[in-house]
Symmetry: C2
Subunit: 444 residues, 2 copies
Amino acid sequence: MSYQLPEGRRLVVVGGVAAGLSAASRARKLDADMQITVLERGPVVSYGACGLPYWIEGQVSDREELLVHSPEFFARERSIQVEINTAVTEIAHGRRRVLLSDGRELPYDRLVLAMGTVARVPEIDGVDAPHVFAAHTWQDFGRLHSFLADRKPATAVVVGAGFVGLEMAEALRMRGLRVTVVEAGAHPLRWHEQWLSQRIRERMGQFQIALHTSHRARQIREGFLDDFPADLVIVAAGIRPATELAQQAGIALARNGAVVVDEHLETSLPGVFAAGDCASTYHRVKQTLDWIPLGTTANKMGLVAGANATGARERFPGVVGTSIVKVCGMAVATTGLSPGAARQVGFDAVAARISARSRPGYFFGEMLEVELVAERRSGRLLGAAVVGDRDVEGRINVVATALGAGMTLDEFQFTDLCYAPPYAPTWDPVLVAARQLRNVREQS
Amino acid sequence: MSYQLPEGRRLVVVGGVAAGLSAASRARKLDADMQITVLERGPVVSYGACGLPYWIEGQVSDREELLVHSPEFFARERSIQVEINTAVTEIAHGRRRVLLSDGRELPYDRLVLAMGTVARVPEIDGVDAPHVFAAHTWQDFGRLHSFLADRKPATAVVVGAGFVGLEMAEALRMRGLRVTVVEAGAHPLRWHEQWLSQRIRERMGQFQIALHTSHRARQIREGFLDDFPADLVIVAAGIRPATELAQQAGIALARNGAVVVDEHLETSLPGVFAAGDCASTYHRVKQTLDWIPLGTTANKMGLVAGANATGARERFPGVVGTSIVKVCGMAVATTGLSPGAARQVGFDAVAARISARSRPGYFFGEMLEVELVAERRSGRLLGAAVVGDRDVEGRINVVATALGAGMTLDEFQFTDLCYAPPYAPTWDPVLVAARQLRNVREQS
């Protein structure tokens, strides 16, 4: 028996950051009459969470700059009711109600889940000490910012060498702290190839940040994490989908805890949609559901979930796994699958890596390293990594677009990219990599 | 009766700049034994012709920097014989011979035509005066460079507001000259939309370069072109394919004079290939043969022509018409068809134009303007223009890749582009444009 949209259309959105407000706004755009309520457990909504490390670094001078819109804006401009500091304690889907922390019950006809993630807290002795901070929520960063101002720590250890860990390490180093990063895994970030780990380590070394991989943090005590000096400890050891509510409501979750959604972003409960970091995303290269929480994806998914909550049937095609992060001034961008990851999911992958300038030398072209991955037999592109100080984002985006289109190396190699000495060389580095990979394929 | 590859494989390449040497080098790579000769009418080969305006500007300090490889390099490293200052006067295809200006005859089995272009000389009274220069060949630029150094002209008029005209105007302005540009057409460059012409005019105005469109130059006399002060005149009023030789040999030419080629870059004479600026290129958006002479395309075509001259059957898929040019520090990039051009070739085109930042403001994001064009019914992407001071090339390349893949707006709008505050906003400007165009389509 499928769920029928009732006359009184009430949309409740759980979560008011990227996906939630994107969903609410899109629903309003498509449906002027729907009653739309957004419930946010935190004290602020609609903020650029990814900018918070740069507030610590000093690039963002005032945290308020990261606030995009206020609850009042949503009420006034979009007739969307936004309630902050309001946690949902239960989804009673049988009665189409959410139960709130203040005891209220809110009825809904359609529900969008956009609860985001929570920080994983690793089992480290002393992790609850007052000089230990997560770097996840608006409040986490507020506390950290005050601690830095008040206590002026001289040394820090960052636990975890993912995006946030590396951004925080750089931010603290720029503030003058001595910084050590410890990572339990063998590699920083996600592109687990030796050359890229080496570049990251070298660059961090130039910034006098020590990176210790394959080190599982054990103990935090006054002034130290294990043997590393630490007046301050940042725990950035990963996140997980905030999906307890969904689970309790009987909504199907993937093994990684993310809400399972179909291409319309509908969950296993009809009329209930999920978007953003709490939801699964289809990985177009792997061709399976995956979980890659990122702000830009959250915004896109929000649009689709919001539209479909009004009765549309839009489709979210998924992601190819594109990301970029600044590591001590160096851009590290990846999309699709690394050679190792491709093999792990069963592709017979070939890869080539080249160095080439982003522009002619006389226009200060940057030396870029590009690794390109393809399936041996079909030549289908599977992924790329691009590393350099500048001019990286455009190159990874070209490969991301090609991955989205399912292009093969033969199709990709003659892509008509722009050329003029102030902006690009005759052969763009990504095409140099494509030609090199074509040689590798032919010779293998 | 089709042409059979004889035992003695002799390849002659006519033209030694981008396409010609790319063809010769590729042929050598695939065939170690072929006898390969490159004939170049000019005094140098293998140079970055597009860098010459920047030598005038001063960005390139020594013209020799633009020389990639010498004839000796090709002889020594690739066993390719390169003859400079050697013009071909006739192709005697019946006897498989080219006749040279010095009276010699050179036999061939396969021929690659890569003669490039010649500058059009408009009918202007006084165009032969010694202070009038083309800006096309190595020699043109040499003469101009000497004139600037010796005569120190204070004023200049540039005839033609195409790529080279605008680059030369900026180069001369940067050297301190008072510069006027006159253009016979109603718009500069190729994207004939009022807003873009306006941006170009404004920017040139800021650099104190006057742009007079719809002005057909009539007379050059001492110190003036028409009423504009001109101690120096640059004629950059277009180019045409250098295809007299091909025509005399009975090779089919398009109405625009470019050699007609098939997808293997073979001409109407079997065994004779053409590549680069003298040849037609398939336009993947228009889906017809076109003529868009550009250095990067010439290099790509050279690879295919060179391979096929050795007996391979590689395919050149064509271009989508991507270009970028610096106009007084502003990057103007286009790909595919403008709204007007799309309608002219029969598309029911819709367009949207937006302004958006390339990165968050706190990372000095550049304000970009993006115009995106699609077919109304199918939503198929047809073209884009991107304008801004920085961060333009990556955006146009994303659309160029999407055009090459034949993507529709629905497919394109969720392209998984990279996001992180130092490099890109949550919604990349090209995706903002896609969403806006989607609204335009729905409402039209």
